[in-house]
Symmetry: C2
Subunit: 337 residues, 2 copies
DNA sequence: AAATTCTACGGAAACGTTTGCATAAAACAT
DNA sequence: ATGTTTTATGCAAACGTTTCCGTAGAATTT
């Protein structure tokens, strides 16, 4: 019924609790003979160490927390995959929390994690987080944290990102090369590092063709329905001939908006987007995407975190890791024939 | 630096540890006055109870585990979302594990969870799990478990599923109504409950038109590359005019296969699939899908589990919850004009 | 006034580990 | 033979809670 404890093993074998404990962790001061006996019984009774007792005693839990805005997002699910791959390798466990882009929720989660619940944190900021007061206790308590993708610039912590600025620059140039004269940037949230960087790249590219290419900025929301309305309105009124979607969901909303207006992609409007959509090539038309190395970013962030956990002393771990995205050009930005 | 403990609060306030503990948990035998003092100090010092100490003492952790095959799958990410919604509401924490469709890994995860690490388990079986020996200790130790989607028929535990059989029946009839005469069923893994049920629905539908409609069975793998080859081969050799993909990834592979052979959907081959793809309507052509109520299934599974946790006695919780899927017909199964 | 019940709190044991320290027995050195 | 080191083990204290039990003093009843 109830689980086997070290105490039971000790009693059964007529050994002290400490001896059994040491035997199980393969301590050098236990004879090979005793170790064998202990291990044999442990196997036989299917002994599993109590994680909570162990975590309480040593002051670490072999658990990390991943805090992300949401999971119904290809990028984040691939990141998680990468994180889990590393965690599994290191025998760590992963607690997962969603902020739903909500600062309040983000604060609550962090508040909870301050109790030593986890050894470290991997985090991507919520879209509507403007105030970062709730992040300070993390540093005060010295809990290792690594930010990925949506970083917090005002906090001194390692980050793992992709080359948002450069990719945006490249992508915008591409739009201009295929003939766009009036390009709209669809922003997901001006508080997010990624959005800022991407917009900067966009604007810098536009600036190089100053006077020849017009730019538009459309701030979007977290509500898909509302986004589609916003985009539809913009398409109808401003009539841009290019759309740069900062995130996948805005590209999808754009496709729907075009469909509702009977606009043809790419003849009337060309669209590209940061996106990890697996079906990008199967869309009608295929969507030109800037593919973020999500899986690698997850692995990388986890690796940096584990480095911090393992050698707490040497504070010279990677500060800012940047992994390059790659652009795949498809029909959505093809020059009309 | 280090976290605040109850002991520190007690010393500061000249109270016994037990008094502080009781005050914090709002026990009736503590005066309102004392409670107020304790709460005030706790707030001021930002006290956070140590989760491990607490979990060790009471024998519950306020944590559940979710064991799924993978996350890069729209269905599972939506399920997780539903689970997290309920967990958050109940103030529970969620540990997440991926089996990568691997029985070995599945066994390891479960092995670990036997130590009282979690209060309950939500699980969807791995694709290549044939032997369920590793599941028995869960029942022996009395750890509450709920299976969702890919259930384990041989274990007496509550399940949350969708109406796989009926939906398959309906979908297959649809394929036949739009004129398919030779329909291939793409199987993901014959060991999975969902695959069996879906195949049965498929076969039963075919049987009603016995002699008039031919059926094909293509067992697929977990490797996308390989699947595409298998499907391409089948399309080339057997020339079916309809494909029923048991899971989303096989539909995607089918689209790619058709593209590589220059086959037109739906003119040459009609395709439908169980799928939660958000972009189904934007594909070329739009994919007819049987949408599983993933989010609701997650919420439902979590709710059943929490019911088990809360009233351990009354064993009359829902045994088998079935939530209906819905079919959305799109161009991929349209009658050619 | 004595006996009883409440009220509000303290002491200490427990949850299952890990680990610093102590110590018999054995091995070795003088 | 005596002293010293080594080897293998045991004892007990921690980790931070929760909770059983006990008890002064106040309040109430008889």
């Amino acid at each position: 019924m109830s689980a086997i404890t070290i105490k039971m093993l000790a009693r059964e074998l007529n050994l002290a609790i400490s001896t059994v404990s040491r035997a199980l962790m393969d301590s050098y001061e236990i004879s090979a003979e005793t170790k064998e006996k202990v291990h044999a019984l442990a196997r036989q009774l299917n002994y599993q160490p109590n994680h909570y007792a162990s975590s309480l005693r040593r002051q670490r839990s072999k658990t990390i927390a991943v805090i992300i805005p949401e999971i119904s997002n290809n990028f984040f699910s691939h990141v998680i995959n990468g994180i889990e791959a590393i965690a599994q390798e290191k025998n760590y466990h992963v607690l997962i929390y969603f902020t739903h882009e909500n600062q309040q929720k983000e604060a609550e989660v962090i508040q909870h994690l301050l109790s030593g619940r986890v050894d470290g944190i991997l985090m991507s900021m919520a879209g509507n987080t403007t105030n970062i007061q709730h992040l300070h206790p993390i540093r005060e308590q010295g809990i290792p944290i690594v930010f990925f993708d949506r970083i917090c610039a005002d906090l001194d912590a390692p980050t793992v990102t992709t080359d948002d600025f450069d990719s945006s620059l490249l992508a915008t140039h591409h739009l201009m090369e295929v003939g766009c004269k009036k390009i709209a940037y669809l922003s997901i949230s001006p508080h997010l590092s990624i959005d800022c960087k991407r917009m900067q790249g966009f604007q810098q590219a536009i600036a190089t063709k100053s006077g020849q290419v017009e730019s538009l900025l459309l701030p979007c929301s977290t509500d898909p329905q509302r986004n589609q309305e916003l985009i539809t309105n913009m398409l109808a009124i401003e009539k841009p001939d290019g759309i740069f979607a900062s995130v996948e969901k805005l590209a999808i909303a754009s496709y729907h908006a075009c469909a509702s207006l009977g606009l043809s992609i790419p003849a009337d409007v060309k669209i590209l987007s940061f996106s990890n959509l697996e079906t990008a090539s199967l869309l009608n038309p295929g969507l030109t995407t800037i593919i973020q190395p999500a899986h690698d970013m997850g692995k990388s962030a986890a690796t940096v975190l584990f480095n911090m956990l393992e050698k707490r002393k040497s504070k010279n771990w990677e500060r800012n890791t940047v992994i390059r995205s790659s652009m795949i050009i498809r029909r959505s930005t093809q020059i009309a024939i």
